[in-house]
């Protein structure tokens, strides 16, 4: 098992966002995560990536307990993540943004990192923008830059937080193509998205987050057909 989350909880003050959540991810799969606004999806990523400490529970990566490790160690062990609200290195060029990730995330030299960054930018179709200052990018390009940074660390587990929001249909198709091409057989993708149609096309499995836990999970079509899911999520959100 690549990722094993067991009994994970996290509260902010009295607000219990994640409660006793358990989840596993296998190499090669694409796990889609949906859930209403504020369900705790991004919080789950922050817990897995090590930005937030959990109030309870353990997180294992390839069998190793990483619950106490800082984000950079988790990154170097193979967790690449994007932020829902992009966090560019605003005064650096697009290329340098990806280079930092390549050099530090995959423990490469500057030379190796350069090659890796070039490859990732080419794959994601951002090569033409590489000389621009990251702070000057549009939101869509910033999201693509987030993806490039996450890929540059050579992840085994790729965490994508709403990178398709606001994309047109063809752009979505392109994005799915990029993720497919980037995914190696030993790599898993966990992808949070509100647009269920996007996830349906790439996810091998779907999990619905609700009330701090996993409400339903399984094959995408079966999960979407689940009446409880339709009630609490699709019904209220009207998607």
């Amino acid at each position: 098992m690549l990722l094993e989350v067991a009994g994970l909880s996290r509260s902010f003050g009295r607000l219990r966002v994640i409660e006793d959540l358990s989840l596993s991810v296998q190499p090669g799969e694409v796990l889609g995560i949906i859930g209403p606004n504020g369900a705790g999806k991004s919080t789950l990523f922050n817990l897995i990536a090590g930005v937030l400490p959990p109030t309870a529970g353990t997180i294992r990566l390839s069998g190793r307990d990483i619950t106490g490790l800082p984000p950079w160690d988790r990154c170097r062990l193979g967790i690449g993540r994007t932020y829902q609200v992009p966090r560019p290195f605003a005064h650096m060029s697009v290329f340098e943004n990806v280079l930092v990730a390549a050099v530090h995330g995959s423990r490469a030299s500057l030379r190796q990192g350069r090659r890796r960054a070039e490859a990732v930018l080419a794959l994601a179709g951002l090569a033409a923008q590489q000389a621009r200052t990251a702070g000057a990018l549009t939101l869509l390009d910033l999201k693509r830059l987030e993806l490039c940074k996450a890929l540059a660390v050579a992840p085994k587990l790729l965490l994508l937080d709403e990178i398709a929001g606001g994309l047109t249909e063809p752009e979505c198709a392109t994005l799915i193509g990029i993720v497919r091409r980037a995914q190696t057989p030993d790599m898993a993708v966990v992808w949070i998205e509100h647009v269920v149609q996007t996830l349906r096309r790439i996810a091998t499995r779907l999990a619905v987050l609700h009330d701090g836990g996993v409400l339903a999970e399984g094959a995408p079509d079966a999960v979407l057909a689940n009446s409880r899911v339709q009630d609490v999520y699709l019904g209220t959100e009207g998607r």
Partner: protein, 330 residues
């Protein structure tokens, strides 16, 4: 390096290079009064470069940097005056002592973050100063002058000594500038720049924030110690209040870097130049100078957080001192 497209960048670099050349020939061009001011400028420049590295890149906002300047001063006195080691070697040893004492200081200070870290650095600096005041061999609370033999080892006459101290300061400042530049261009440096722009984002792509902060802290300490030794050679005495002066070695330095521009190599240089220009042209120096610089810092932060250099940089195609890894190599 001058192959760059923009005439403004070429002009800026020409100014920079001209300034460096001017410093390199200064002893043959200027009188002793100017040489003395330039020596002080070079020492302050080292302090500015170091504070900028720590606060501008590694987010270690220290207000206790004067601790290592004072440690360098006292260590230099100990080696040169008490142990009678030749001054050049004593200066280097003073840098090493600062580095060694940075380890326990770091162990205390790095348990804290943000506001608390700043307060922690100040408390640690005060502690070092209190200890220095208790050392009777170092003149206790009132300090002591450098004995004549130490000075004679630098040169027979005061005029010669001025020049020697100037060269020492120039070598130190050049080393500080170029090594910090190389650091920023390195693998570590690109991580530091990412930290400057977005700390959490840097951690998420694998930049070890703790190690980077420690490295910067240990990087700055010996330079601060060396600067303290050279400041002592210029002031010709040590004392707890003057050698550990928070106003001279921390507050002014912070103002200079903030006004010049945090998080760039050019900013500290610009800020330090401005500091000396203002000081030379404002006759009634003292409290007013401090207040003026304080007000200026606040004004600059409100207009452009990245200082005067941030304002200038917007009109330039690239950095004058290139730290980028993109486009042409330099």
């Amino acid at each position: 390096m001058l192959r760059s497209q923009s005439p403004r960048v070429v002009a800026g670099r020409a100014v920079l290079v001209a300034g460096m050349l001017m410093l390199a020939v200064a002893p043959w061009v200027f009188g002793l009064g100017t040489i003395s001011v330039l020596t002080e400028f070079l020492t302050m420049l080292v302090l500015a470069l170091m504070w900028n590295l720590l606060a501008g890149y590694a987010d270690v906002v220290t207000v206790g940097q004067h601790a290592f300047v004072g440690i360098g001063a006292y260590a230099f006195y100990g080696f040169a005056a008490l142990a009678q080691i030749r001054p050049p070697a004593a200066i280097l040893l003073a840098g090493l002592v600062a580095l060694a004492l940075a380890l326990p200081a770091m162990a205390i200070v790095f348990r804290l973050r943000a506001m608390y870290l700043a307060i922690g650095t100040w408390v640690v600096a005060e502690l070092f100063m209190l200890v220095a005041g208790k050392l009777s061999a170092f003149g206790g609370g009132s300090g002591v002058s450098l004995p004549l033999p130490v000075l004679r080892a630098l040169g027979a006459r005061p005029a010669e000594r001025f020049i020697v101290v100037y060269w020492l300061a120039l070598v130190l400042a050049a080393t500080a500038f170029f090594s910090t530049w190389l650091l920023l261009r390195s693998r570590v440096g690109i991580g530091l720049m990412a930290m400057r722009d977005n700390e959490e984002g840097a951690g998420a792509v694998g930049v070890d924030l703790v190690r980077a902060r420690m490295l910067c802290f240990l990087w700055t300490a010996p330079f601060l110690g060396l600067a303290g030794a050279i400041a002592t050679l210029q002031k010709l005495r040590i004392s707890p209040a003057a050698s550990f002066s928070i106003i001279d070695y921390t507050v002014f330095v912070i103002f200079n870097v903030v006004i010049g521009g945090v998080g760039s190599l050019e900013g500290p240089v610009l800020g330090t130049i401005l500091f000396f220009v203002l000081r030379e042209y404002l006759s009634d120096f003292g409290t007013w100078h401090l207040m003026l610089l304080g007000a200026l810092s606040i004004a600059v932060i409100l207009i452009e957080p990245r200082g005067l250099w941030g304002l200038i940089r917007r009109r330039l195609a690239r950095d004058l001192v290139p730290v980028s890894h993109h486009g042409s190599r330099l």
